[in-house]
Structures are given as structure tokens and as C-alpha cells.
Amino acid sequence: MLKTFRRAFVLSLILVMPAFADTFVFTAIPDADETRLKERFQSVADYLDSKLDVDVRYIPVKSYAAAVSAFRNNQVQLAWFGGLSGVRARALVPGSEAIAQGKEDQAFETYFIAHDSTGLKPSDDFPMDIKGNTFTFGSKGSTSGRLMPEYHIREAFNAAPEEVFERVGFSGNHSRTIRLVEAGTYQVGAVNFKVWEKEVASGDVNTDDVQVIWKTPTYPDYQWTIRGDADQRFGDGFTDRVRQALLSMSDPALLEKFPRSAFVPASNADYEPIRNTAEKIGIID
């Protein structure tokens, strides 16, 4: 019996040995329907694999923080981050850079959505009468689902969300926010406008039960970020080749996965506003 245990132990130690020495691994924040993550990004992995001369692998993660940690720990070298997760990741990995963003990410928006029973109506000004309702953000680490809506709520009421609303929750991702507000579990929610538009277009939202009541001013959001040591590990000019591969992605079926119309160049400086906002509400040091 003991012998068996020992054998099992030795075997599990053997598994500690690195297995994927020179595979280029990327991940993406799980911002929408997590059951489809693999099919969503596997085609992107295949595309990159064909454009770069290394093996490319996609690995799904369960949370925004897990994406940042995997990037920081060098278990992934490239990531499709949100604005905030990208800022966090680049602060933790010196030398890493934002290399491309979606065309829409230059002017991204958050939609505040409300359940029909609240009687809230669409308006151009911040909807002050959301006060006292129940409210859900997306993931705790989301830019469009947490950072920007919380910023605007704090600006409008000069108080923390917990003081403004009867109940505050974190749904986990944008599709779930839509589902929760649609079902009335929460009366009001904040959602990534691209996910909202995609779900409405595909008929997954019952717009009799839930509608957009306010749109935030625009801000920069998602971007591809690569580690600073990528050239050293995968050869000179590798970062440029990755950037080129991303910028030249033109297959609508691939772009639809994000969903974006095209990718355009990005730089770390583009995300200064996000970092400032995050510091203001105290979720980064």
C-alpha cells in the first residue's frame, strides 16, 4: 500500500517538469458566455499559429484576475485584456506593452440597463432616480462592467455604490448581467455595450423586459498586451510580427469573436485615463 502511495507521489512530481517550453500561449478575459470561450478563441489561436512560426495555444481562465496572474507569471505571453486588467498586468510586468486594440475600443461605452418594472426611462443625463434600486456590476475586475460605472455613480451621488443602492452585486460577466437584469434579480445593471449589441442582434435579449437607460461618455478599453521578454524568448522582431498578425486580421468570422470590426495600433499611454480613474476609486494602489 505504502509502495503504491510512494509511486503515485513520484509520478506526480515528474509531472512538475515543464512540458511546453516554446509554445506561445495566450489567454483572454472571460467577459461573456464562458461555455463558448474555447470555441471562441481556438480559431484565433489557429490564425496566429498560421501567421507566426511557433506553436500557439489558447488557455481559458475563470476570472479577470486569473488572466492577469497567468500573464504576470509568464504562463501566458499574450492576452486580450480589458482596459483595467491591461493596466494592472502592465504595471506588474515591466516592459510589457499594449500592441493593438479593437477599432471600437478607442471610444468604448458602458450601458446602464434597467428592468421594465422599475419604470426607469432612457435619458441623456445620468439617471439619478436609479438610487435605491438593486444594482449589479459585471466582474469585479471589469472596466466597462465595474470601473467606469462605479466612477460615474460616485461622481453623480458623491457616495459609494453600497450607499446609493439597496443591494450591490457582481454578476461575473456581461452576458450574466444582462440575464440577471432581464430576470429582475437585479433592477439595474452596467454592461459592456458591444456584448449588449451582440446579444440584442442575435435575439438573446427580451427587450420588453430590459432596456438601455443611459450611455456613459466614451473611454479606451480592450487591448492586446504582450510581455516585454517575448522577443528574447521567441526571436527578434517577434513582437512586431504578432502586432502585424493582429492588425491584419480581416476575416469577419474571426473579428466577430471579439466582437470588433478591425484591430488598430495601441500604446500603453492610451490607457492612462483608465489608470487614473482606477486610482481615483481606490481599486489600484
Partner: protein, 491 residues
């Protein structure tokens, strides 16, 4: 009557529980909670086993992580149990088992990342602490006679192997196989934080409302647990153990620099890391304790006490369902099925499901904890009640229940309830990850904000609170002169 310690303790716990229920938030906030419940039920009866292509692999991984984790835990626990007399070892074991598997997984994820070792250690470490304690209790309870008849000068090892082990072995095996079942539950749950086990897919499918996929995963999980004793035969175990490490998946390679960075930088409090001095550290600590630890402790205790009373209620309602003193063969069969489902469903999974259906409050957590723990204790008390012989002219129905059985099973009932107090608290804390504002909520927030210094401190607070409950529970049990047999799946 008030002079009886049993009555007094029962009254105090009940009154505290009711007070907590007034202070806690127990609302159902969904507009239409029954619609989702109906959809879920429809999903379970129309399971879709083919839409998730990974589900077979996930099932395999769930079993593999459970086997490797429990095997390592039991080996380490056995070795530790031999030196359990040492105070340091005892405290160390109490400490590692006070931290929930999910917290361990969240910690290891930060530096081992998506490597199988994360899942294996997340199970093995807390289990080692539990095994050490229970194994040492089993060895201690041994009949001392065989040792006395050994000749003078028998070596310690021979003494141990020939006089202690043979007597204790059946109990050790029974307990270990029970823990294997727990290990399968833990392994499945680890998927919720990103390991490739069943929980990973359950969480994803549930959050999208793909109830037929949820149904398929739940059914697979119940079948796995219910058939455990048929496929996990003692003779096959060595084969499973040898095979299991090969089915953990390859994950991603460990970068060892991350490990040292985690311990030398990440978990060092930010003011010290940035060299801001002791004053800043004081502020940092005060802020963390006031804004996160205290509200977390308060909510954790509220929820624990409500759940403890409700667990007691569920137990008292549930145990007659399988007791031979009530009903007939058919009704007891149904009762067994109900209790098996209640205790096989991990409370984390149950709370997750109920939270989706009823909205965010303490209610889903209370119901989940009460059903799961009430199912376990109800099963034990039901079995205990079967050993009771009633007089032929004993009353039937409610009088039999209240005048014949309750007085007889009440002491073991209280013993098991208090035994699980600490377990309920540990689960309560972890349920915070789902959004209820117990300690786990603040731990999860700190991790989402990549502030591991705060996360670790809050996990320490959780562990200390758990140890405090454990000590209190032992005192109460001693005050009531209650004994639990350790081999009775108490943990």
C-alpha cells in the same frame, strides 16, 4: 428543566440563531424565482450530454485530482498522526485544515498557476490536517490489550505494526474511503476557480442558463458519487492510484521564480513593500480590519449561527425519513434517495444554484448549508435511531417521535451538530466568493484586485476564526459530556 445543560445550550443556540436571522438579510429578490427553478428542473429531466465536448475529460480530471489529492493527504496525515502528541504538529494541523480547499487553490493559483500541482495540493494540504487528527484519534482509541501481551523488548516499530495497526486498520480504511467521497466533491468544486474539473463547466453553463448542460453535469456527478463503492473497490485502488497522476492533464509549466516572488513580495503588506514605515502599516492594518475583516467576520458569524439552527431543524425533520420506526419500506427508500442527494451535493454548488434562482442574500446560503449538513447528520441520526429497541406497546406517530425517539437520539444529535459547527463556518466563509458578504467575499475581492497581501491576511483571519469556533465547539461538547465516534463520518 432549565437546569439541564442540554436544554440550556439548545435554548441559547436557538435564541442566538433567531436573533441573527433578524439581523441578517434573508430576502428573495428575484421577480420570478420559480420560473428559473422550473427551467432548472426541466434541464435536469432533459439532460444534454453531448453539447459540452470536454465533459468526459472533466469527469476524468475530477476523479484524478480527488485520488492524487486524497492519497497524498492521507499519506502525510498518517505520518503526522504518529507525532500528533507534539503541540506544534497539532496546532499546525488545526491551522492547515482551518483553511478551505478553495482558498488553498486560490493561493496556489497565484504562483503555480494552471499546473496540476495547484489542484493536488489544494486538496492534499487541508486533508492532511484532517487525516492527522482523525487517524491519531483512531489509533488512540485502540484496545490496549494486544500491546500488553507483547514480550518485553519488542521494538517500537514492531509494536506499532503488530499491536496497533491491525486493530485500527478497518477504521482507518473506512474513514479514508469516506474522505475519498469528500475528495470528489472538493475536486469538482475546484473547477469554480479554474481547474479543469466538473465545476468549471457547471459554473459556465449555469451562468448562461444552459440548464440541459447543467442537468447533464449534475447527473454525471451524482452517478459518480452514488456508484463510488462499486467502482472504487479496495482491490482496484492501487491501480487507480498509479493511473491517476497521468490523468491530471498537463496544464502549463511552473515558473519557479513566481513562487519566491509570491512569498518575498506579493504577500508582504504594501506599506512595508513600498518602505512607507510603521505608521503607514498601522493605517493599512486598521483600514483592512475595519472595512473588510470586521464586516466579514460579522456576516460570517451571523450566517453560521442561522445555518447551524436550520441544520438542526432539517436534521430533526429528516432523520425519521430513514428511521425504521416510521413509515414503510417504500417511504424509507425515498427518504434515503433524498438524503443521499442532499449530502452528495456540495454546499458550494447548492448555494451557487440557489443564488442564481433567488437572488443575492443570505437565504440561499442558509438553505444550502442546512440541506447539505442536515442531510449528513440526518443520515447518521437515522442510522442511530435504528439501533433503538422500542417496547411493543410504544406509541406511534408524533408521540413516538417526540416522547420515545427524540429523548434518546438528542445527545448524539447535539454532538454531531456541534462537531459540524466549525465545518459550517468554514463553508460560510467560502460562500462569500459567490457574492454574500462573508469573509470569502473580501478575500475574493482582494485577489481580483491582485492584492495578495490583503488576501493572505484575510485568509489568516478566517483561519483564526475557524480555530476559535473549533475550540468553543469542543468546550461545549465537553460541557455536555458528548462523545462522537470519530469513525462516523463526522467531518
Amino acid at each position: 428543566m432549565l437546569a439541564s445543560p442540554t436544554v440550556r445550550v439548545t435554548l441559547i443556540v436557538t435564541v442566538v440563531g433567531i436573533l441573527c436571522a433578524f439581523l441578517g438579510d434573508l430576502a428573495i429578490t428575484t421577480v420570478n424565482p420559480w420560473q428559473d427553478l422550473k427551467d432548472l428542473f426541466l434541464g435536469v429531466v432533459t439532460p444534454d450530454f453531448f453539447s459540452i465536448d470536454q465533459v468526459g475529460v472533466a469527469l476524468l480530471r475530477t476523479v484524478a485530482f480527488a485520488f492524487v489529492g486524497v492519497a497524498l493527504g492521507s499519506l502525510a496525515g498518517f505520518l503526522l498522526s504518529l507525532v500528533f502528541g507534539s503541540r506544534v504538529i497539532r496546532i499546525g494541523c488545526a491551522f492547515v485544515r482551518a483553511i478551505h480547499e478553495l482558498f488553498w487553490a486560490l493561493i496556489f493559483l497565484q504562483f503555480f498557476g494552471f499546473h496540476p500541482l495547484t489542484g493536488v495540493l489544494a486538496i492534499a494540504i487541508p486533508y492532511a490536517g484532517i487525516f492527522a487528527k482523525v487517524y491519531s484519534e483512531i489509533l488512540e482509541e485502540n484496545d490496549p490489550t494486544p500491546e500488553r501481551v507483547l514480550p518485553e523488548g519488542t521494538g517500537r516499530l514492531a509494536r506499532f505494526l503488530y499491536a496497533r495497526i491491525p486493530d485500527a486498520l478497518p477504521h482507518l480504511v473506512t474513514y479514508t474511503s469516506y474522505r475519498l467521497e469528500c475528495g470528489l466533491r472538493s475536486s469538482a468544486i475546484l473547477g469554480f476557480v479554474g481547474l479543469p474539473t466538473l465545476g468549471f463547466y457547471l459554473e459556465s453553463s449555469f451562468s448562461q442558463g444552459y440548464y440541459s448542460e447543467v442537468g447533464a453535469i449534475l447527473i454525471l456527478f451524482y452517478v459518480l458519487i452514488a456508484t463510488l463503492r462499486h467502482w472504487a473497490r479496495p482491490r482496484l485502488i492501487p491501480a487507480y492510484l498509479v493511473a491517476a497522476p497521468f490523468f491530471l492533464g498537463d496544464g502549463l509549466p511552473i515558473v519557479w521564480g513566481n513562487v519566491s516572488r509570491f512569498f518575498t513580495q506579493d504577500i508582504v503588506p504594501a506599506p512595508i513593500r513600498d518602505g512607507d514605515g510603521l505608521g503607514a502599516l498601522g493605517d493599512w492594518l486598521t483600514q483592512l480590519l475595519l472595512n473588510e475583516a470586521l464586516p466579514g467576520i460579522w456576516n460570517t458569524l451571523l450566517l453560521t449561527q442561522i445555518a447551524l439552527v436550520c441544520t438542526g431543524l432539517v436534521t430533526l425533520i429528516a432523520f425519521p425519513l430513514i428511521s425504521r420506526h416510521f413509515g414503510n419500506r417504500v417511504s424509507r427508500g425515498g427518504g434515503h434517495v433524498l438524503l443521499v442527494i442532499a449530502r452528495s451535493t456540495p454546499e458550494y454548488m447548492l448555494a451557487y444554484i440557489l443564488l442564481q434562482l433567488w437572488g443575492p442574500s443570505m437565504l440561499p446560503a442558509v438553505v444550502a448549508l442546512a440541506l447539505h449538513n442536515g442531510g449528513i447528520i440526518g443520515h447518521l441520526i437515522g442510522r442511530r435511531s435504528n439501533e433503538i429497541q422500542l417496547r411493543p406497546d410504544a406509541p406511534s406517530g408524533f408521540n413516538r417521535y417526540s416522547y420515545e425517539l427524540i429523548p434518546r437520539v438528542y445527545p448524539p444529535f447535539l454532538a454531531f451538530l456541534f462537531y459540524r459547527w466549525e465545518i459550517i463556518m468554514r463553508e460560510t466563509a467560502i460562500l462569500g466568493i459567490l457574492g454574500i458578504h462573508t469573509l470569502g467575499f473580501y478575500v475574493d475581492s482582494a485577489i481580483q484586485e491582485i492584492r495578495f497581501d490583503r488576501a493572505i491576511l484575510l485568509i489568516l483571519v478566517t483561519a483564526l476564526l475557524n480555530i476559535a469556533i473549533d475550540v468553543t465547539s469542543r468546550r461545549v461538547r465537553r460541557y455536555l459530556r458528548l462523545q462522537t465516534r470519530v469513525t462516523c463520518e463526522g467531518h
